[in-house]
């Protein structure tokens, strides 16, 4: 009994120590990646390729998600506010929800799933097939050549994606409001413009940039530290998506509390 109990406690202790060690490794990786990001040479071709991959090729998935979210939001808000002045309320709720939360969070989650998984899988495969080792022996610094362009591109692209996603989400709400709920288009547009706050947009962009940092950093970290062949690649990919998503949802609360708390 005592043996079982001490084993159980030992197991918990080991897990905790592993967790603390992982946090420490991640912090070292984070600082190292940021420092390499700021040092020349910058691989502009790689940054451009990543910008295309993260930004341009994520547009369809981000556009669809935010468009339908705007539509659902308009419908649900209308159902709840039919007895009040729903034309302005629906516009206001759609606008505020999209610009403050749904736009950045949905974009972040979609990019984490699409791009984060790809980044982690790509780097993990390079790691387990010795390509990263080979890079280091060919006069190139892997952190600078592989990781830094991904982080730079993610920090630039995700805010832009959020701005586009916000516009499409608001458009989704507008389509439902006008064509299904038969609102007056001028009144709806007027209400949307009237309630548009610069601070909401800035907050969304700040969130998006932080999400970009989280997604790229977490994905690259898990990819860069992958071991054990194909199994390691799978683990890195899953972990990067799960951890990025959790951190996105956690950090969105913290940022909202900082801006509006």
């Amino acid at each position: 009994m005592l043996y079982f109990f001490s084993n159980f406690l030992g197991g918990i202790g080991k897990k905790f120590l592993d967790f603390v060690a992982n946090i420490g490794h991640f912090f070292i990786f984070f600082v190292s990646a940021i420092s390499w990001m700021l040092k020349p040479p910058w691989y502009f071709k790689k940054i451009f390729q990543q910008t295309l991959d993260i930004g341009y090729f994520s547009l369809p998935v981000v556009g669809l998600t935010t468009f339908f979210s705007g539509m659902v939001l308009a419908l649900q808000t209308y159902n709840g506010f039919t007895e009040f002045n729903s034309e302005t309320t629906v516009a206001r709720v759609v606008l505020t929800s999209i610009t403050r939360e749904l736009g950045p969070v949905l974009t972040g989650l979609m990019v984490a799933g699409r791009v984060g998984a790809k980044m982690a899988a790509e780097i993990a495969t390079m790691k387990v097939t010795e390509q990263i080792d080979a890079l280091g022996t060919l006069g190139t610094r892997p952190m600078q050549y592989l990781i830094a362009p991904k982080i730079i591109a993610a920090i630039i692209c995700i805010p832009l994606l959020v701005l586009i996603g916000n516009t499409i989400g608001i458009l989704g709400g507008y389509v439902i409001a006008i064509y299904k709920l038969n609102f007056n288009p001028n009144l709806y547009l007027y209400a949307t413009i009237e309630y548009l706050q610069l601070m909401d947009i800035i907050q969304g962009i700040v969130k998006a940039a932080i999400f970009g940092l989280i997604i790229s950093m977490v994905s690259c970290y898990f990819g860069y530290n992958a071991t054990k062949g194909a199994e390691g690649v799978g683990f890195a990919t899953t972990s990067s998506v799960v951890i990025s998503s959790v951190l996105i949802l956690t950090s969105t609360y913290i940022i909202t509390a900082l801006f509006f708390g």
Partner: protein
């Protein structure tokens, strides 16, 4: 009387120890690679040959010991200085380690292109000149590594290693997975590279025929340490049981006639 020629030490490994999680992989490793010399490292799978190579090129840090390349101590050397030395080396990894996202010609000239910016035409021309020696067709230059066979990938990896004529060549199983004709071609190339550019090479291999063709000196890693060293000819008269197991399938007369 034959005049004794002084040859410079290119790589010197002294008293090297390496372990992973208290599991000793290498202990008391001592050897020297001289200028113009071709050294083969043999040993069973898992005996630590690749670990030794990774220690030499700084991908792993030894627990203790010294590694000197061109008389520069590599252990604990600053990153910039280490990178400068690594640029003088041509290295192939066990599984090729070609970059999936780059075409074969971009892989071959990767190191040179990083040092001296060159345009696509110049790069392809240089890559073509190298693959010609390796019996590869120019059509593969515009393909990605995943679009060519494993044997071709191996040759592209060798082309990447010898691009820029490095004076020190390190090959990790360069002929494994290749047909005997191509394997022999690679051996000739290693030999030519060592002879013509006055370079030195370390080759890790299980292929004893290859050892006989390319090596001036052989070391055997067994039970975590160097258990035998000598010339390829000496292998055939050695009483070391492990060496005898290795050379059993080989007919020495074919190679030393």
């Amino acid at each position: 009387m034959k005049k004794k020629v002084y040859r410079k030490s290119i790589i010197k490994v002294s008293d090297l120890y390496k372990s992973f999680n208290n599991n000793i992989v290498l202990k008391n490793i001592n050897f020297e690679l001289l200028e113009g010399e071709s050294l083969a490292i043999i040993g069973e799978s898992g005996s630590g040959k690749s670990v030794l190579l990774k220690n030499i090129i700084g991908l792993l840090k030894p627990d203790r010991g010294s590694i000197k390349i061109d008389n520069t101590e590599m252990v604990n050397l600053q990153r910039n200085s280490k990178e400068e030395i690594l640029l003088r080396l041509g290295i192939t990894f066990q599984h090729g380690a070609l970059f999936d996202s780059l075409k074969n010609w971009e892989n071959i000239i990767f190191k040179i292109a990083n040092q001296d910016k060159m345009n696509k035409k110049e790069g392809k021309k240089l890559a073509f000149a190298i693959i010609k020696q390796l019996g590869l067709k120019p059509e593969i230059l515009d393909l990605y590594p995943s679009e060519i066979s494993g044997g071709m990938q191996k040759r592209v990896a060798i082309a990447r290693a010898i691009c820029g004529n490095p004076k020190i060549l390190l090959f990790d199983e360069p002929t494994s997975g290749l047909d005997p004709v191509t394997g022999s071609l690679i051996d000739k190339l290693i030999k030519t590279a060592v002879k013509t550019i006055g370079g030195s090479a370390i080759t890790i291999t299980h292929d004893m025929a290859s050892v006989c063709r390319i090596a001036d000196k052989v070391i055997l890693i067994d039970k975590q340490t160097i258990s035998w060293s000598g010339t390829p000819r000496e292998m055939f008269v050695s009483e070391n049981t492990k060496i005898q197991e290795f050379i059993k399938p080989i007919n020495s007369e074919i190679f030393f006639k």
